[in-house]
Symmetry: C2
Subunit: 261 residues, 2 copies
DNA sequence: TGCTAAATCTCGAAC
DNA sequence: GTTCGAGGTTTAGCA
């Protein structure tokens, strides 16, 4: 069955009344919808916004997620996460599309004065997605091979609850001194250093306690802050970590990692 | 000129070789492109990812932003911010589309084994976007009407540089005591409290110094932390702030706000 | 449900 | 160019 509709010339407009009917039916069938057209948008909920008319690309996904994109930039100008309900109406020569979110209560109201492209398709997507060189990969690699940080380091636990939050890794160095490790997959900034400092402060008792930031790089202004707070930095490349993981998993020696994660 | 192409029945596929040509031309003309089809994706750059074949919606914007969406969820599964360059190729019965980012060096490689919809359109979008009840609105409202926090409070400056960053607002209370104010448009969490604490700590001299978190709500576990750190909380609704702003702007008494922002 | 922190976060502004 | 913090951030993982 044909669910896609296109104008026969660029920027010519589809009849809005019919498009409204098609859109309503596509949404009822939980299809993935793409609308390109000139629309204005009002958002009301946690915040409130108003967007005047302009050429936009609107996506409605099969789980009820809504994305309204301008012709530039990564971010949608308006949106709604999945589980939205939709209401379609043709009135006063406009195609009105309303997205309603229950909790928190929010609405996004679109008014189309022209639609250049409409499509409703059933998309099947069971493809597996794998991400490598994330912070999780760094943590896994460090747990399997703690000497990536320093010789003799032993991991005691990961995601240890410390008063203000969670420390990524908690361990003990060769001398038996406790070590708290904070991992960042990007250049560690001031905030990361303070985060570690808060963990160290919250955990510190009478025994000595080291705090180490592990990241591919340290922010420029952070070097001084780090020294002031008596913390340490150890450089580590996330790509290297994911390669170490790949090698270990190939040789089937990754059974012991589960107990830490 | 027709730039949109649609199959004449749902899920029927467009000829990939022709689609590759159309895509290449649309990109050359800096059009906004939508491709719906079955594709696999490899990303390599700051991190690395692999996505197996499945039904996807691909957006390429006029500034070179790339979004690859699965049929569910708010977030794209793969993406690239604006300023990408693209390379199109038809080979081995596949339509290959490569997005290249210069800095940081990253690539996203898409392999289409089927395309259900292709569209390239020139979208004009000069529409103005206005956001209300943001953190900035809260700040503006507080500057114009400091007694929203407490009677007798005077604003000294906003965005005051304190050692580790910026305090939202710096002022003096009725008794002449200095006050640092940290604004959050959402429930203030532990991190917000610690952020304010760091500002207060960095600024504190011999004189007394108050720190106040202004937000619509305070996170549950934060109440104790706040007391421990000797900080204060003042409830304030961002929607109320935007209404106050709207009223003031209507009555034209907003001339004095510029000097603070 | 609430809290905690990551994210290939993006984006814009300031220095 | 780097740094910094906001964002209607969203999302996933846990207690």
């Amino acid at each position: 069955m044909t669910t896609g509709v296109l104008p026969n010339s660029s920027k010519s407009q589809l009849p809005l009344r019919e498009t409204a009917d098609r859109l309503r039916e596509a949404l009822r069938q939980r299809k993935a919808v793409v609308i390109i057209g000139s629309c204005a948008v009002d958002y009301s909920g946690r915040a409130r916004s108003r967007l005047d008319y302009g050429g936009r690309i609107v996506l409605i996904k099969q789980d009820g997620a809504l994305l309204i994109h301008r012709p530039y930039g990564y971010l949608p100008v308006n949106w709604q996460p999945s589980k939205c309900h939709f209401h379609v109406e043709y009135a006063d020569g406009l195609l009105n599309l309303k997205a309603i979110r229950v909790s928190p209560p929010e609405t996004v109201q679109m008014r189309f004065k022209g639609v250049y492209l409409f499509s409703g398709l059933d998309l099947e997507d069971e493809g597996r997605f794998s991400l490598y060189a994330s912070e999780l990969d760094m943590k896994k690699a460090l747990i399997m091979q703690p000497d990536l940080i320093e010789q003799g380091l032993k991991i005691v636990s990961s995601e240890k609850r410390v008063a203000p939050g969670f420390a990524d890794i908690y361990g003990r160095d060769r001398a038996g001194t406790s070590v708290i490790i904070e991992i960042k997959r990007d250049t560690a900034d001031r905030e990361a250093v303070l985060q570690l400092y808060n963990y160290v402060k919250a955990t510190a008792g009478h025994q000595p306690l080291r705090g180490i930031i592990v990241a591919p790089a340290l922010g420029k202004g952070c070097q001084r802050l780090l020294e002031t707070l008596n913390l340490e930095f150890k450089q580590l490349d996330p790509h290297l970590c994911s390669e170490i993981l790949a090698r270990r998993q190939q040789s089937g020696r990754d059974r012991s990692i589960g107990e830490y994660l």
